[in-house]
């Protein structure tokens, strides 16, 4: 991983014209400030053009046809796979399985490798900061196999408690499933330490790369992870496509996942032989055009340079922390900017995150509000919901600075009589009594 601070930050003004949606207004007349990139990014005209051209000029189903369109689609689809391979430095393209997204990739591993490899008493180690997509499939796997789920706890400032690792990582641990970057805290996890320690314990490692691959250089061979998943729509690509990378020996030993067309070598009336990688895990018609669009998104990111993206996001995040620290009663969840990506989640006094997001929206600022598919993380920090601003290469410092006056306006709306400046909420609070608060 190169030092981001050594790279000159990029100038977002150079890239903004490529993104048609950024020039629209919302709420009648307000220019859009799009800070919901951790949920999904926008896409440049280059990607949109690829999709249109694909449908208008080349489209046919892949891996089936002899005719010219089928061959053209085939070539474009496999070219996209090669772009993915190079982007994450996988050894071969066939180790990059096209899926519908990170969630699908994780479920694939859980249902194939997991069902075949885990037994009662085995342990799955994950963390308190995982997105539900890297938690629920393991809960389901534990339910099917009798395996036990454990969680690496979080420190108060949003870091994994590595001091707990010795107790959690044992010969019973068969899998470490951990995110590279938290989708709420922005925390960049120390995979360089986690992966070797998990391997020493004999565990397989799955990395959720959904929040890291779009923002920081990923090298699966240097990481030495066994599996990595990513989502196209979080990196300027279309929705509906993602990638599962796996080590070849694991992918080859795993039973197939979905059965159907495309994933077989031969079918007899009562049995089948699975096909080779990657077809074995790509039953049915794959997300052809989305995958090709993802290839163009990767071209775009390569042209911008991920190191420049990371440096730019650092600058935006530092400014966001400065601006937000001026707001009375505002609490940022997670570590300082030097330990995270461009994600800033916060609470504002007792004002509910949905009300914060609603008022920001009236100023054109799109942030996410809620639990961001991380209920256990929110419970860890004693909140039910946060507002989250998340940045990407096209966001500007001027946009980030808009957060200040917009949040002051939120306070004006809800503190008309200044009856509760500071201090705890004057109201009694009924906490959720649902089992999810303890049982995850």
């Amino acid at each position: 991983m190169s030092n981001a601070s050594a790279t000159a930050p990029l100038d977002p003004a150079k890239f903004r014209p490529d993104f048609p949606i950024l020039s629209r207004c919302v709420r009648d007349d307000v220019p859009l400030i799009y800070f919901d990139n951790a949920a999904s990014t926008q896409r440049p005209a280059q990607v949109i053009r690829t999709i249109v051209e694909c449908y208008e000029e080349h489209y046919a189903n892949v891996h089936r046809g002899i005719h010219q369109l089928a061959q053209e689609s085939d070539e474009m689809f496999e070219e996209a796979r090669e772009k993915v391979r190079a982007f994450i430095n996988a050894p071969t393209p066939e180790q990059c399985i096209f899926t519908s997204g990170s969630t699908a990739g994780i479920n694939l591993v859980a249902r194939t490798w997991g069902d075949a490899s885990l037994h009662a008493g085995d342990e799955i180690l994950t963390s308190e900061m995982e997105h539900h997509s890297n938690l629920v499939p393991w809960q389901q796997l534990a339910g099917r196999t009798g395996a036990v789920l454990r969680h690496i706890p979080l420190s108060d400032d949003g870091l994994l408690r590595l001091d707990q690792l010795d107790a959690l990582l044992t010969e019973r641990t068969k899998l470490l499933a951990v995110t590279a970057v938290s989708n709420v805290l922005g925390t960049i996890n120390p995979l360089g330490e986690l992966v070797p320690r998990a391997h020493q314990a004999g565990a397989v490692v799955l990395v959720d790369g959904a929040q890291s691959v779009p923002h920081r250089k990923t090298d699966v061979q240097a990481l030495d992870c066994d599996f990595l998943v990513l989502s196209g729509h979080k990196m300027l690509g279309p929705s509906g496509v993602g990638v599962l990378y796996g080590k070849r020996d694991l992918l080859e030993r795993m039973p197939p996942f979905l059965g159907g067309g495309g994933m077989i070598r031969r079918v007899l009336p009562d049995r089948f032989e699975p096909g080779d990688l990657p077809a074995k895990f790509e039953a049915g018609t794959p997300p052809i055009v989305s995958a090709i669009g993802l290839g163009t998104a990767i071209d775009y990111l390569n042209q911008v340079g991920l190191e420049a993206v990371a440096a730019h996001e650092r600058r935006l995040t530092e400014r966001a922390h400065q601006v937000l620290s001026q707001i009375e009663g505002l609490r940022i969840l997670g570590p300082p900017p030097d330990k995270k990506t461009g994600i800033v989640s916060f609470t504002l006094g007792h004002i509910h995150a949905h009300d914060v997001a609603e008022v920001l929206d009236r100023r054109g600022i799109a942030v996410r509000a809620g639990h961001h598919c991380t209920m256990p993380l929110h419970q860890r920090y004693g909140v039910t919901a946060t507002a989250r601003a998340s940045f990407y290469l096209y966001n500007t410092l001027a946009e980030v600075e808009q957060l200040g006056p917009a949040l002051e306006q939120v306070q004006r709306v809800f503190h008309r009589r200044k009856k509760d400046e500071g201090g705890p909420s004057p109201w009694s609070v009924v906490r959720c009594r649902s089992p999810r608060t303890t049982d995850y």
């Binding site: 709420r27 949905h354 009300d355 009236r362 039910t384 709306v413 008309r416 609070v429 009594r433």
Partner: protein, 142 residues
């Protein structure tokens, strides 16, 4: 503030949010129910004291959540405090949105309807009842 923001967070709504009607607990609740909206974490609890004639002598709510859900609960409690249970049964989701008064997006309608949903369940949820009692509610609650 922009006009539609003024509309959503108008004084009437904020009055209920900041100074809610009957936030607290019934001293002798006969019926109670609590539910949440897991998407945003809004929680509402309703406690009712229903007399044998089927009149809600007291209605209280408590909860935690956004301005819309909490203000809607306050309005709903104010509307039905002292009223017959039968009126609650006739009070539809659309009536609740009308009572709230401000145009809401579909996502925020869920916030507004949470207290309505909880009240509708509360009238069928006697405190300390058994499962058999729940299936055969007393006359006043039918």
């Amino acid at each position: 503030m922009p006009p539609d923001e003024e509309e959503l967070y108008q004084d009437h709504i904020l009055d209920h949010y900041e100074d809610p009607y009957h936030r607290g607990h019934c001293s002798h609740a006969t019926h109670a129910h609590q539910d949440d909206n897991p998407l945003c974490g809004d929680v509402i609890r309703m406690e009712l004291a229903i007399d044998p004639a089927g009149t809600m002598r007291e209605v209280f709510f408590d909860g935690d959540g956004c301005c819309i859900s909490q203000a809607a609960a306050s309005m709903l409690v104010e509307r039905f405090d002292g009223r017959p249970v039968a009126e609650v049964r006739r009070f539809t989701a659309n009536d609740m949105l009308d009572l709230f008064g401000v145009r809401l997006t579909p996502n925020r309608q869920k916030c507004c309807l949470l207290p309505w949903r909880v009240l509708q369940a509360a009238i069928y949820s006697p405190v300390g009842q058994t499962e058999a009692e729940r299936r055969n509610p007393p006359e006043a609650c039918r």
